[in-house]
Amino acid sequence: MKSAGPVLTVLIAILALWYAGAVWMNAQWVRDQAERAGQTVTWEQIVPQTMNQSRPVLPAPHQVAVELWKAVVVTPPTSKRSLIYHAWVTLSATLLGFAIGTGAGILLAAGIVHNRAMDMSVMPWAIASQTIPILAVAPMIIVVLNSIGITGLVPKAIISAYLSFFPVVVGMVKGFRSPDAMQLDLLKTYSASRMQAFWKLRLPSSMPYLFASLKVGAAAALVGTIVGELPTGAVAGLGARLLSGSYYGQTVQIWAALFVAAALAAGLVIVIGMVQRVTLRRMGMLR
């Protein structure tokens, strides 16, 4: 409870900044309206009018809160207006993509650690893959997969996997190589095979690295899915909500969708953190 004070202070500071920003950025519209009507407005008149515009440049916090309440709580989750519905669409593709990305990342890392040819050849490609803007690749993946009859969840999951495998590869290569020379020498004195060294030493040693990578990978997977939802014609998902919001100037809708996306990412990271704690405690690595 000691941390409640500082946390609350920061929260209030953010809200205050946000309100100030809303007034600042939305004031121009009020002035333009007044000018067109041939009136002059004072700051006292402007401020209230920046708080409840229907298409503000920056919606005020309470507008976003009301929109969130409507879209998350009031609207039934089966409705296409419900953010729960869209969040689930995004989350399911994210989870599938995250699973594929994590699996591929761990396999690639195991290959890189055990095979010199892979060590030399895979890593540059993995790095190159991440330098290509995902916004450029995503539509191509969607179109190509669509042309061979794969639609819906899978193409988005593949884009999500494309982004999330990278932190897992980097982290797990480091993790699999974390045992020191002495540990490897010890196994050598037992004439242990490379497989035994992997299962008994490298894999358990890599656990702390795995969870760090998973946290980065989960956030990347979510971004990948949202980007993957943009070129699908804004059918469903948080990405679709963001896109349609920007089509129609619905900034409040965009911000509400952004908050839900942030909450999803936070939720994923928290779940991974809990799995991490349980796993490491069971392994006796948490004191």
Binding site: M182, D185, Y190, K200, P204, M207
Partner: protein, 269 residues
């Protein structure tokens, strides 16, 4: 080849080194870690390797364990190449750090070599119980390494090296990181263990008293290139109370070791 052990009886040599040399190729040119090393270790010997850093004592121990390959001469362990001896489970190796897996209990750590070598479950449990008793860690099997002191961790690592019944125990400064009091106790226990099991022990150390107290044979080495300058057969009896370190015999051997180290110009730098 015939060798004599501490008691003077004729026994087959466990380690036989003839003209062993080992050169590392580094970016700065070749480094002669070992040069013309001749040594015979008999079964049941407790051999200490002492010398300053860079004298090749650890390299020689690692060569016996097939962790390094000599570039010259011949080196046999139990009459085989070091590599074949390793596959025949001839030796257990103890490093300076205990190196226990933090995710395994003490019993789990001792079990590690047994799992790798494919012992049955029942056999594993029986052996773990036996070696934990040998190093006086009975009752600590279910603890995790971090719950034990440094000395106890090192005892567990010795248990791990003993678990698969190797005849040779190779120890690379096993007590180097421990304080003097713990070290004394572990030295005493190691001697007891050696007496009870009849293992052959190769022991690398920096400490003259430790080498003299433990060994039946003290190998004094000097650096650049790493070589043997003196081999001292200890006249001390096999059973040695800690007080033996105050006797004139003990002092005399320690003196000879010190002289040997000085003769190798080991403290020039």
């Amino acid at each position: 080849m015939i060798a004599r052990n501490a008691g003077g009886a004729q026994v087959a040599p466990v380690v036989e080194a003839r003209g062993v040399g080992l050169t590392f190729q580094t970016a700065d040119g070749p480094v002669h870690a070992l040069k013309d090393v001749n040594l015979t270790i008999a079964k049941g010997d407790f051999v200490s390797f002492i010398g300053p850093s860079g004298c090749g004592k650890t390299t020689f121990l690692r060569a016996i364990a097939a962790l390094e390959a000599p570039t010259e001469g011949s080196l046999t362990v139990n009459g085989m190449t070091p590599d074949a001896a390793r596959r025949a489970r001839a030796y257990g190796y103890v490093f300076q750090a205990a190196g226990l897996y933090p995710w395994r209990t003490i019993a789990g750590n001792v079990k590690l070599p047994l799992e790798i070598m494919g012992f049955s479950r029942a056999e594993q449990d029986a052996r773990v119980a036996k070696v934990l008793e040998l190093v006086e860690l009975t009752g600590f099997g279910k603890k995790f390494p971090w719950q034990l002191s440094g000395g106890m961790q090192q005892r567990a690592s010795i248990a791990r090296a003993l678990a698969f019944d190797a005849d040779i125990l190779l120890m690379d400064e096993p007590f180097g990181a421990l304080d003097e009091i713990v070290r004394d106790r572990l030295n005493e226990e190691l001697l007891k263990l050696w007496n009870n099991t009849g293992k052959t022990i190769g022991f690398v150390t920096h400490s003259i008293p430790e080498a003299v107290y433990l060994s039946t044979k003290i190998v004094v080495m000097s650096p650049r290139p790493g070589r043997i300058t003196d081999v001292i057969e200890s006249p001390l009896p096999r059973v040695r109370p800690l007080e033996i370190r105050d006797t004139p015999e003990f002092m005399a051997i320690a003196h000879r070791v010190r002289e040997g180290l000085r003769a190798g110009h080991s403290y020039d730098v």
